[in-house]
Each structure stands twice: as structure tokens, then as C-alpha cells.
Symmetry: C2
Subunit: 273 residues, 2 copies
């Protein structure tokens, strides 16, 4: 037996994180919860400080306090931590959302995204979303820059997948041609055969100084905002590439300049002030 009210509240909090501003009506449509229930949940979250009710804008939004709900979790890969600031900076400057994805078995998983920052989105849940490796920009950018050996292992795994989006793994020559093209371009884009058609993603790999491919960094834009896809690529590819290099440099500095080793006693009880 689980507590329904809590499940509902968590779902509401999730939805609130999808958009900068949320009306009761939107939340009602997305969560299927009765409006009075929503109002009660939101009031509870508001009094606890996690949510703000901006009456001028007529909507609810998450407040700074939500960060403390995950302040105890920093187990993510350092590349995500190093990349967040860059992703945020790019979105602030260029408006379009940026995401960082890491490989997980035969998919990529989005580990950080600025989607909720900049826009009203019909899509949900971009963080922790799985992306297919062979049709999505983030996947191709990762796969194309793997070394021959690693790449072959990966393709073998993909062939065992029953996801129709991985069909290309059975046409090895065609796939390799695509990967080589991505590699020589230095970036990948989403396959035109998959949804959504009204947007495109440009992705580049984040490669450690050691040469290991760690993650991919992608920017998504609305096709309608540009005269051609080439125009968008000309503009954003250099930005993404230099950001990826910068993230890699940060990682390098992070592990080296902090590297005065201390092997002394284990800390056990402490507070930060």
C-alpha cells in the first residue's frame, strides 16, 4: 500500500519542472487530476516553499528550494557537472535548449537539459529520457567518435536490439558511411525519418583529453526559425564544438589542479560554515 497523495504530489512536481510557468488548466490536462486536488497539492507545496504562485502571470512555478530536494545527490559523472554551466550559458545566450547525454547500454540517456528554461514545450520529461543511438543526433555524435573497436562492439549490441529505430545496424556499410560523414563533419543531426519533424537537433561529442568519448552535447531548435537547416548548423556547430572542447578542458583542469593528494583521516561529522 502506497500513499496516493504523495505519488500525486511528486507527479505534479515533475510536471512543474517541465515548463517555466504552469497554469492549473495545463496541469489538469497533463496529470488528469481534478482541479480542486491540484489546488490543494499546489497550496501544500507552496506553503512548504517548493512552489511559487505568481498571480500576475497566473501560474505556478518551482522555486529555488526544490534544489534542496536533490542537494544530497552528486553521484553523477563529473562531465555532467562540468557541462551544466556551458549548457546553461548557451541557452541563456541563444535561447534554444541544450542537453547533455551519456551512453547507457544501447541508448543514450539525457542527464541534463535546459529545456524547461526557455520555452513552453508539448514534450515532457527530457531528463532521464532515453534516446536511440542510431537515429538521434546525440547518439550518432557519440557513436561516430568511438574508436573502431569500441564502435564495433556497440554495433553488435545494437543489432540485438528490437527497436525499429535501430534498424540501420543491419546495414553495416550504410551505417559506417553515415558515421564517417558525421565524423568528418564533426557533428551529427537527427535522422529526418523520426519524430518530431518540426525541430532538429545538432550534437557534438565531448571527448576527454585521453581520447575517450564521454558524452554528447546537443542543441535543439525549431526549423521554422531558420531559412534552411544549413543556416542553423553554420551558426551553432562552432558554438557547440568550442563548448565541448571547453568542457573537456575543464575536466582536465578539474582532475589536475586539485590533485594535491590527502591521505589523512576520514572525515565523519561536519557542517559547512
Amino acid at each position: 500500500m502506497t500513499i496516493r497523495a504523495i505519488e500525486r504530489a511528486m507527479n505534479v512536481l515533475q510536471e512543474l519542472n517541465q515548463q517555466p510557468i504552469n497554469t492549473i488548466a495545463q496541469l489538469h490536462a497533463r496529470t488528469k487530476l481534478p482541479k480542486p486536488t491540484l489546488v490543494r497539492i499546489l497550496r501544500t507545496l507552496e506553503e512548504a516553499g517548493y512552489v511559487e504562485n505568481d498571480t500576475r502571470q497566473g501560474g505556478y512555478q518551482v522555486s529555488a528550494l526544490v534544489t534542496s530536494l536533490s542537494s544530497g545527490f552528486h553521484k553523477g559523472p563529473l562531465v555532467v557537472e562540468a557541462g551544466r554551466a556551458w549548457a546553461i550559458a548557451i541557452t541563456r545566450k541563444h535561447k534554444w535548449p541544450v542537453a547533455i547525454a551519456l551512453p547507457d547500454y544501447d541508448d543514450m540517456i539525457i542527464r541534463f537539459s535546459t529545456v524547461p528554461d526557455s520555452l513552453i514545450s508539448p514534450f515532457h520529461s527530457t531528463v532521464n529520457k532515453r534516446l536511440c543511438m542510431l537515429t538521434r543526433a546525440m547518439g550518432l555524435a557519440y557513436l561516430a567518435f568511438l574508436d573502431g573497436e569500441d564502435r564495433n562492439v556497440m554495433i553488435d549490441i545494437l543489432q540485438k536490439s528490437d527497436n525499429p529505430e535501430n534498424a540501420l545496424s543491419h546495414h553495416r556499410d550504410k551505417l559506417l558511411r553515415l558515421l564517417n560523414e558525421v565524423r568528418s563533419n564533426g557533428y551529427a543531426t537527427r535522422s529526418s525519418t523520426v519524430e518530431p519533424r518540426n525541430s532538429d537537433t545538432i550534437a557534438v561529442p565531448i571527448i576527454a583529453k585521453s581520447g575517450r568519448v564521454l558524452a554528447s552535447l546537443g542543441l535543439t531548435y525549431f526549423k521554422a526559425a531558420f531559412g534552411s537547416e544549413q543556416e542553423a548548423r553554420d551558426r551553432y556547430v562552432p558554438i557547440l564544438k568550442s563548448a565541448a572542447v571547453a568542457i573537456s578542458e575543464d575536466l582536465n583542469r578539474l582532475s589536475s589542479s586539485v590533485a594535491i593528494d590527502v591521505s589523512s583521516a576520514d572525515p565523519s561529522a561536519i557542517s559547512n560554515d
Copy 2:
């Protein structure tokens, strides 16, 4: 009328973020909730994926999914985003917790902390905790590096405070001597007149290329782990100073190398893949 079950669940989630591993008994002691209630709440959070029950260790901990409860919130200052990776790297390397604090009126507020990462702590809620400006390392490191004009304004504000920890603001000469000492040392430590006595914090300012003092970066350690406080300072001050410089450089790069401006259409609906 608010929903009690939700308030309780949020409190439990907060407590779970304070320690890497939490037993029912600990949570019971801290939240004052009956154990069956805790079990029910934890089961609910577990089924929703926010909490893991590591039966081997016999305790509950937050899982990666909690990050999605705040994935929509990136409105914080960029200096926090730029600093997180460095704070995490230092803690991973040197074990002791590191925090970033920003000024807020006459206090500092901790905006990021690695406290929950490394240890079992009797202290709670370090993120969003307010620190007094004149007795805490993070406050002194900030105040001492303000320019004369800004600093005077700040001291005037502090004199209006009724917080006994700000008493020093009424002894301007004594305070200025202390601030000058901090400034020439390049770091501050917590006043020995305030709790907790068994630990100390070393803090340095994070100063933008423009010269503006943005935040402070502090490391807290147990006094018992070192022969003398000087020993700890000799070891960690250089690390903190170089990290503060690195954060400042990152900020500079973040705003410059991304600076190809785009003034085109507003994005409105998009997903990241």
C-alpha cells in the same frame, strides 16, 4: 488546508538528502514521525523511484531521479553552476565538504554544498542555510574583498542587525583590522567564538575578472584530523585559491566564447533529442 502526507513526504526527502545513508531509526529520530508512517512514505517514494532501499547496508538513500525534481530550475547565478564542478572535484579528492555561498542582504546563503556526499553529519540542511557575515569564514571572505565603498555600505547595514553574531560591526576599527588581515592572507576562517567548535572552515572569495566579488568558496574540516589549524590551512588554502581563480576563469570563458549573438525568433516548442 494543506495535505499533511505531502508535507511529511517532503520533509523525509529533505532529511534523506542530509546523509548518504539513512536508517528508519535515524529518520524517526529526526522527523518525529512514527516508524510505520515512515515505512509507508519511503515505500511510496521508492516505488516512484526517488529513493533506494539498500538492504545490504540497511538504509535508504536518494536515487538519481531526485535530480529531476529540480531539473527545471536553473535560475541561480552562473557562478554557482561554474563552481559546482570544482566543489565536487575537491571533495572527491580531499574528502572534506566544500560549499559555495552568496551574499543576501546582511547574510551569506549557502547555494551549493557537498556536505551530504562525504560523511555522516549531525548537522542539517546546509543548502539554503544562512551564515552570519562577521563570524563565519564564508562571510568574512566575501566582505573583506569588497571595495571600500561597497564594504562601508555593508558594514552600515550590519550595524542595524540585531544578530549578536554581528556585534563586531559596532567596533569599526577592530573589524577593519580583521578584514585587512583576511585580505592580506587571501582567506578567512570561522571565528573561534561561535559554534561548532570541533570543526573549522577555510574560505576564499570568488572574484570576477571585472573585480567584483561574486561569492565565497569554503572548505570545512574536523580540527581533530590535523595537528594544528595551520597545518590544515597550509594544505587547503592553495587548493581553494586556485579553484576560485579557475571558477572565475570559467565564468569569463562562459560569457565570452559563447558570445555569438543570435537575435532571431523566440523558441516556443521543442524537445531535446
